[in-house]
């Protein structure tokens, strides 16, 4: 019994349970057909959610009020800059990756400068910077869709025995970030700040430096996502970041990370990301109209948050 309770106590487990249930509900409708393909697709799309989710999770773990709303704009900017730099040339792949990450670095530094110098809450800082970043992306990209270099497109869509290569890479990245979170001074400082910023500062943690690194990390992961996603989806587009505003936050919260900060949960990101995608494809499979699909997505997300949030409140 204690073991059962210990398992049930793990908040991230629920996200996997929910993802599995959604998968079952979908293939039950199709009569068991396409279950494997659906899983492959889910892992592919979940990968992108997880990349931005990791950054958002570190930011949210810093404590109340910390959230990065500039992720969608950063994805769009990094995607369009990288595709323009690459100019469909395979030889430019690395350089375009560097360009994308440089965009992320710039946005992260800008975000943090606003937070520090203007002393405004991060929500407002990242929101106002996202206005500027998105405008830059629009003016820079001019709405053109430049194709990715073939090698990047191949890499992002490659599969090994039905498992997307990208998912394997990102699983590795997530594992590394898990070690960073729990085993390094930086990661533990993030958690400590989230639990009690004053105590962390008194204990000698350089709070501002850690916050700076975290916002830069989040923006750079968003940039990486923009780079990979434009490779995957055949080019950058101005609306490519849109869905990530909800996704980046929902993945973190559904994944069992405390919104109050100080308690991060990395495995849950995967469950939540799979769940988010599977809900979408389930509703598509049921052939609902666009209106019903939006309605159901919203209601399901709220329902899961109510259930997951309640779990935390009790403890």
């Amino acid at each position: 019994m204690t073991m059962l309770r210990r398992i049930a106590d793990k908040p991230w487990l629920w996200s996997f349970v929910a993802a599995f249930a959604t998968w079952l509900a979908t293939i039950a409708f199709t009569g068991g057909q396409g279950g494997e393909q659906l899983l492959t697709a889910a892992f592919t799309f979940a990968t992108f959610f997880v990349i931005v989710g990791i950054g958002q999770m570190f930011v949210i773990t810093l404590g109340p009020g910390n959230v990065d709303l500039s992720i969608p704009a950063t994805i769009t900017l990094a995607g369009s800059v990288a595709m323009k730099v690459a100019d469909t040339q395979d030889s430019m792949i690395l350089l375009s990756l560097v360009a994308a990450l440089a965009c992320g670095l710039a946005v992260g530094v800008f975000n943090y400068a606003l937070i520090l110098i203007l002393r405004i809450p991060p929500i407002i800082a990242t929101l106002s910077s996202s206005f500027v970043v998105l405008s830059t992306a629009i003016a820079y990209g001019r709405g053109l869709r430049i194709k990715p270099p073939p090698m990047l497109a191949d890499f992002t869509t490659a599969q090994v025995a039905g498992v997307p290569v990208l998912a394997i890479c990102v699983a590795f990245l997530a594992a590394v970030m898990g070690v960073v979170l729990h085993r390094t001074v930086y990661g533990r400082s993030v958690i400590a700040i989230g639990q009690n910023q004053r105590a962390a500062a008194l204990a000698g943690i350089k709070v501002e430096r850690i916050r700076f690194m975290t916002y830069v990390l989040s923006a750079m992961l968003a940039a990486l996502c923009g780079y990979l996603f434009s490779g995957f989806s055949g080019g950058s587009s101005l609306s490519m970041g849109e869905q990530y505003l909800l996704a980046s936050i929902a993945v973190v919260v559904i994944g069992g990370t405390s919104v109050a900060g100080g308690n991060a949960n990395l495995p849950g990101l995967w469950g939540a990301a799979l769940f988010l995608f599977l809900v979408q494809s389930m509703l598509n499979t049921y052939q609902l109209s666009a209106g019903l699909r939006y309605l159901a997505t919203g209601l399901i997300i709220i329902a899961v948050i109510v259930l997951a949030g309640g779990e935390k409140a009790r403890r």
């Binding site: 203007l118 002393r119 929101l127 206005f131 629009i138 929902a250 997505t297 709220i302 949030g309």
Partner: protein
């Protein structure tokens, strides 16, 4: 009352000052814009934005954030353009239902200690879905009385030399006055603000935090509804995502108007002025021939500049 410190005074007039500077800039670029007709045209869209900003301010007062207000305004627009037109009773019920949903959300967020950002992000999908269900393709028709109201031209004021106050300005004054008196000058208004500033103290004093949260979310739903009605009165035909940008505009408006993000420190008058500043910024950019690509960015830049000014003022106030 002791003398108001210069920093505090500066902070209080900063929203009005930004609006005035922007007006002067517009006058410089196009003198004819500063006329009753020019004001009517430039500030028409400020009415729904100001109402949405007041709605957002209600939520921010209790330390939450509403990321669904744009979608909700779109929902109201679609209801007003269809049901309210064809079967008024049903339309009215749907609008009241919207406010009830807002109150329910307030209760849910309070009781389950949920993050308002995520819940309202989820709600934005719900409102958008409902709006599309009501009106799958752009169209519908604005109820005649709404269009007539929004086109209302106030009579000239005889003792001011026949001055005509443009309707948007009149509306902005009324909205600001109602919100100001309700929130700043009533006893329950200070309880409502207090529940954002120091929830524990309010609870110890015997007030229900659940009730304040539900009240504020209900008010947000109410003002959001007014915003939708004003918008459909101006645009004549409806579309589900017509007010998508209102979410960001309303947050920016509250902050521009001097509201703090936490702690119940808000300013209804400032919020209305903030909304007008953002609306005017669009006209200003058009006069400057800045391409529409940069419009969002320029609004972000204005937000950052005003926040920077406020940071400077704050620093003046607290010398080290």
């Amino acid at each position: 009352m002791t003398a108001v410190s210069p920093a505090r005074f500066l902070r209080a007039i900063l929203p009005a000052l930004s609006l005035a500077i922007l007006l002067i800039a517009v006058y410089h670029l196009n003198p004819r814009a500063i006329s009753p007709l020019g004001f009517q045209l430039m500030f028409n869209l400020a009415i729904p934005i100001a109402l949405a900003t007041i709605a957002q301010m209600c939520v921010i007062t209790v330390n939450d954030l509403d990321l669904s207000i744009g979608a909700y305004v779109g929902f109201v627009v679609c209801i007003a353009a269809t049901w309210l037109q064809e079967i008024p009773v049903l339309g009215l019920l749907a609008l009241i239902g919207g406010i009830l949903v807002y109150m329910l959300l307030g209760a849910l967020i309070h009781l389950r200690k949920l993050p308002s950002i995520v819940v309202t992000l989820g709600m934005s999908f719900v409102w958008l879905g409902l709006a599309i269900l009501v009106l799958p393709t752009p169209g519908g028709q604005s109820p005649g009385w709404l269009a007539a109201l929004m086109k209302y031209k106030p009579p000239p004021i005889p003792f001011l030399g026949g001055l005509v106050i443009p309707f948007p300005i009149l509306a902005a004054v009324v909205i600001a006055a109602v919100a100001h008196v309700g929130l700043m000058n009533t006893s329950y208004g200070s309880i409502l603000r207090g529940s954002g500033g120091n929830p524990k103290a309010i609870e110890r004093a015997g007030w229900s935090l659940l009730k304040t949260k539900v009240t504020m979310f209900g008010l947000a739903g109410f003002f959001g509804m007014l915003a939708g009605l004003a918008l459909i009165g101006l645009t004549t035909s409806a579309q589900a995502n017509v007010a998508e940008r209102y979410t960001l505009l309303s947050i920016a408006g509250v902050i521009l108007g001097g509201g703090s993000f936490v702690g119940g420190r808000v300013s209804p008058v400032g919020a209305v002025i903030g909304a007008m500043t953002l609306t005017l910024a669009a006209s200003f950019l058009a006069f400057m021939r800045i391409p529409p690509d940069w419009q969002i960015g320029a609004q972000g830049a204005i937000l950052i500049i005003v926040l920077a000014l406020r940071a400077i003022i704050d620093r003046l106030e607290k010398p080290i």
